[in-house]
C-alpha cells in the first residue's frame, strides 16, 4: 500500500513541482545508485543509469498510477536500464578489480581492510558472471533485501518465477564462486548462460 505522504509528493510532481521532484529524488537516489552499481560494478555507469532512470521518471510521472508503489516502478526502470546496458556491453565486458570492490582508488574508505575489499571484489566478480536476469534477482533479494513479491513487481514476473530464478541464481552464483563453468549447472530453462 503506497505511503499517503509519498502519494501527495507524487501528485505534486505530476502538477509540475520541481521541489517535490527533488524530494522524491533525495528519497530514492542512494538505493537507485547502489542497485545500478551492484548490477554493473562500475560507478560511472551506475551514475549514468541512475540519472537516466530519474529523467525517465520525470518525463513519465504524469502517467504514473498513484495506487501503485512508486519505488517498484523506479527500480523496474533501473533494472531494465541495467539489463539493456549489460546486454549491449556483454561482448566487450571486462571487470575492473578496483571497481568491483565498490569504490575505486581514492574513493575507497581507508578504514576498510584489504581482506574485506578483496572479498567484496571476489563476490562482485562472481556475480558479474551471471546472466542479467539472474543477476537482477540476486541483487534485489540477497544484496538489496527486497522480498519476492516486491521483486516480482520490479522484474515483471510472477512470484513463482522469481523464486525459481532465485533458486537458480544462487546455484549459478555458487558455481561462479567456486570457479566452475556456469554451463555445469543444470539448465532446465534452456537459458543462454554466457
Amino acid at each position: 500500500m503506497p505511503d499517503p505522504r509519498e502519494v501527495e509528493l507524487i501528485q505534486r510532481c505530476q502538477k509540475g513541482s520541481g521541489d517535490a521532484f527533488r524530494e522524491l529524488f533525495d528519497r530514492y537516489q542512494r538505493r537507485t545508485y547502489w542497485i545500478a552499481h551492484n548490477m554493473l560494478s562500475n560507478y560511472d555507469v551506475a551514475q549514468d543509469i541512475s540519472q537516466e532512470a530519474f529523467l525517465r521518471v520525470f518525463r513519465n510521472i504524469g502517467r504514473f498510477d498513484t495506487k501503485k508503489n512508486f519505488y517498484t516502478w523506479l527500480y523496474q526502470i533501473v533494472v531494465n536500464l541495467c539489463i539493456d546496458h549489460m546486454r549491449r556491453a556483454s561482448h566487450n565486458r571486462s571487470t575492473d578489480l578496483d571497481e568491483v570492490g565498490g569504490i575505486a582508488d581514492e574513493r575507497r574508505d581507508p578504514r576498510e581492510t584489504t581482506g574485506r575489499t578483496e572479498l567484496r571484489a571476489r563476490v562482485q566478480k562472481s556475480l558479474d558472471r551471471l546472466p542479467p536476469k539472474y543477476k537482477a534477482v540476486l541483487t534485489l533479494r540477497d544484496i538489496q533485501g527486497f522480498n519476492c513479491e516486491e521483486i516480482a513487481e520490479i522484474v515483471g514476473a510472477t512470484n513463482a518465477t522469481v523464486r525459481w530464478r532465485l533458486h537458480r541464481a544462487r546455484k549459478l552464483f555458487r558455481a561462479a564462486w567456486d570457479g566452475k563453468a556456469l554451463e555445469a549447472v543444470r539448465d532446465d530453462e534452456g537459458d543462454e548462460l554466457v
Binding site: 509540475g16 513541482s17 520541481g18 521541489d19 521532484f21 527533488r22 529524488f25 533525495d26 537516489q29 542512494r30 545508485y33 547502489w34 552499481h37 551492484n38 560507478y43 551514475q47 541512475s50 540519472q51 530519474f54 529523467l55 520525470f58 518525463r59 570492490g101 565498490g102 569504490i103 575505486a104 574513493r107 575507497r108 574508505d109 574485506r116 572479498l119 567484496r120 563476490v123 562482485q124 556475480l127 540476486l138 533479494r141 540477497d142 544484496i143 538489496q144 533485501g145 519476492c148 523464486r163 525459481w164 532465485l166 533458486h167 537458480r168 544462487r170 546455484k171 552464483f173 555458487r174 564462486w177
Partner: protein, 182 residues
C-alpha cells in the same frame, strides 16, 4: 526427502524464502546429514558475502552529480511561471487578431457573411460577362437566335420541354433518312 531435493530447497530457501513446510524438511534433514548441513552453512555464508555489496561508501558528491544531470530537465517554479504567463499572453494576442480581422470583414460586407475568395470570383465573372447569340446550324433555323424568353411557336414535330426554352429537333433534321432505324 533425499539430499538432492534438500539441496534444491536450500538454494531456494536459505535466504528466508522457504515455507514452513520446506523449512521443517531442511532442518530435520540437516540434523542427520552432515553433507547437507555443510551445504546449508556454505550457502548461508555466500549470502552473507553478497550482503557485503549492499552499500559501500558512495563516491563523494555522487548524489549532486546525478541531480545536476537530471536538473536540466526539471523546471523550477520560476521557469514554469514565466512560461505559463508567456503562453497566456500569446493566446490573448492570437484571440485579439482573430476578432479584429472578423470585425473588419463584417464591416466591408455588412449584409452578409465575411467575403470569401469564391465571392470575389463571382463578382469578377459578373463584371466581365458578355452574352453571346446562340449559333444555329443549317436546318435548325427555328431555334432561338439568342438565349431569352421561352419560344412562342414550337416547330412541328419537335419535342418541347415546357418551361425550359429548349426543344429537341425532329429526327430527320439531324440524321440521314437511311440512318433512321426504329
Amino acid at each position: 526427502m533425499n539430499c538432492e531435493a534438500i539441496r534444491d530447497l536450500i538454494a531456494g530457501g536459505a535466504g528466508g524464502e522457504a515455507t514452513d513446510h520446506e523449512r521443517i524438511a531442511i532442518e530435520s534433514h540437516v540434523a542427520v546429514c552432515v553433507e547437507c548441513a555443510r551445504d546449508l552453512a556454505e550457502v548461508r555464508g555466500l549470502l552473507g558475502n553478497l550482503a557485503l555489496l549492499r552499500e559501500g561508501d558512495a563516491p563523494a558528491g555522487i548524489a549532486e552529480r546525478i541531480w545536476q544531470g537530471v536538473h536540466a530537465a526539471v523546471p523550477t517554479p520560476r521557469r514554469s511561471t514565466i512560461l505559463a504567463w508567456t503562453l497566456r499572453a500569446a493566446a490573448l494576442l492570437v484571440l485579439g487578431v482573430s476578432v479584429g480581422y472578423s470585425t473588419t470583414s463584417i464591416l466591408r460586407h455588412p449584409t452578409s457573411r465575411p467575403m470569401t475568395t469564391e465571392d470575389s470570383m463571382v463578382d469578377e465573372m459578373k463584371a466581365t460577362y458578355v452574352p453571346r447569340p446562340l449559333e444555329v446550324t443549317a436546318g435548325m433555323e427555328s431555334a432561338p437566335k439568342s438565349p431569352g424568353p421561352m419560344l412562342e411557336v414550337v416547330p412541328e414535330g419537335s419535342v418541347f420541354q415546357a418551361g425550359t426554352g429548349y426543344y429537341l429537333p425532329k429526327v430527320d433534321q439531324v440524321l440521314d433518312s437511311d440512318e433512321i432505324r426504329f
